[in-house]
Symmetry: C2
Subunit: 301 residues, 2 copies
């Protein structure tokens, strides 16, 4: 599906190049200077890990709209900092109580709960700091827009709210619509915001913006459906985190509600819609965004 | 000292009026709409409590520089949201493990640890959202500047970093300079940022800005010294939180390092410097800022 739209090798090369650039930028901004071990915990939480999907979405969207590269890298890293902080807090004993993340002990296991709590808090603040550089390399108007997009996606109407619904849903009979709504907040909002922040770095007609929002929503949903599929089909070593934990926690998932094969088919349909949104956007430099959608939908970890 | 500079009744009236306005604004912005009990926990953490010192500093400074009132109220409430989130997280079992705050059970006691963690996270995001209104009532240039001031004061170089030093200092032989440095980050940074955000709402010469920064730093330090004094001289009912807990936790304080009377004298000297900074600023509408400094330095809870 859609394989003709892009060159897989070109996409792999782009992805690796961007992942390295993101790693360098994050390493510079998460300085480690913070006192009393806090900096070390922050760097441990952020660096050398993850697919960097949110940064890739921001950067690819910025390229698609011919956006400002400096601002795009800051938006990319700000989204990743929010994601990284959420993982640190989600893994804590009072939440998911997970000990393994990206193949390493989780932050609270390594540094203690108090330091994990503070590292997450400081990473969230850093995300907004990164969006408003002192050197004037991002226009204040764009900084303000990026801050608003990020704050909305991270807060009570987005990621934090979705996490609250998720916690409340354990052992409950959540239906498919409620499950989709929960994931739209918990993971979808930040993924979509990554796309919209990338779009904000350029000058995009409203109609294209609407389609990019639809693309971001579909990629977010596909990401989660595939996540649920992998939770039952992959092992912990491949995932770099504890497999099968949703079932163990009696959490409703797309697989538990639909069955495995229908969930996989659903992911494909959602991916089709992501591609369709791009085709309807009127934009032309879309190869990387097409490829990213498939990369999310066909990943194995 | 300095009593002649302002009318105590006028200040009390101003304070009560502003506290009510802040309460109304916070009640509107912390909507309670967040799902699965999150909104309720957020409102519980924020509303109907506290002296609102950070908002008062922002609002009084904005008045002193003839700043934009709409932006000032948003800056005031954003600072309070950061403060409120930090209290929620600091009270959690893995941090200070406190059960009483503002005379009520702490958020994790009332709503559970997971909800407390999420409520704090969502309040931090909301603080930045409030600074960038969608209605254009704050200029993007000012929004960006406020976001940067707030992020710096809340993050690893400010509040979160100071909290990390505080945790690491339990049972240690912290000297007076190290203790001051820790408090400059932990509480001083956000108090000073409240002043600087208020100043940013107007058009202030650099020289006045420097003096306002000095004022903010002194008020922050005086606040903490008095806090340490009250921890040994006041009871829990008066404080609305657990008294004597610093000594119980073997935390170094200004009182434990200097003794009670010298700590009280030190607070007075720092207050004098706060007043001096205002007098050196070249600004003219300073009565409320003078009064606020004394209110902080002479409080009984």
């Amino acid at each position: 599906m859609n394989a003709a739209r892009f060159n897989p090798q070109a996409f792999a090369a782009w992805r690796e190049q961007q992942q390295q650039a993101v790693e360098q930028a994050l390493s510079a901004w998460v300085s480690g200077d913070a006192p009393a071990g806090l900096g070390e915990a922050m760097r441990y939480a952020v660096l050398d890990g993850g697919k960097r999907l949110r940064p890739l979405l921001a950067l690819a969207t910025s390229e698609a709209v011919n956006g400002a590269a400096t601002a795009a890298m800051r938006a990319a890293c700000a989204a990743e900092l929010i994601h990284a902080y959420s993982l640190v807090h989600d893994d804590m004993p009072c939440m998911d109580n997970d000990v393994l993340r990206r193949g390493k002990p989780t932050v609270h296991v390594r540094f203690g709960e108090a330091q994990a709590l503070l590292a997450g808090d400081a990473l969230q603040a850093l995300a907004f700091e990164v969006l408003v550089p002192a050197d004037g390399s991002v226009s204040p108007v764009l900084s303000a827009r990026l801050c608003r997009l990020l704050a909305l996606s991270a807060g009570a109407a987005g990621m934090a709210g979705g996490q609250a619904v998720d916690l409340a849903s354990v052992g409950s009979a959540l239906g498919l619509e409620a499950l989709s709504s929960m994931h739209r907040m918990k993971t979808g909002a930040l993924l979509q915001a990554s796309v919209m922040m990338g779009a904000a770095t350029g000058d995009v007609p409203d109609q294209a913006l609407d389609q990019l929002a639809r693309y971001g929503a579909c990629v977010g949903l596909a990401f989660q459906v595939v996540d649920d599929v992998l939770d039952v089909t992959a092992d912990s070593a491949t995932l770099g985190k504890t497999a099968g934990k949703d079932a163990a926690a009696e959490k409703p998932t797309f697989v538990s509600l639909m069955g495995l094969a229908p969930a996989q088919a659903y992911a494909d349909r959602v991916l089709d819609e992501a591609h369709d949104a791009l085709l309807s956007s009127g934009l032309t430099r879309l190869d990387t965004l097409h490829a990213l959608a498939d990369w999310v939908g066909r990943r194995h970890s």
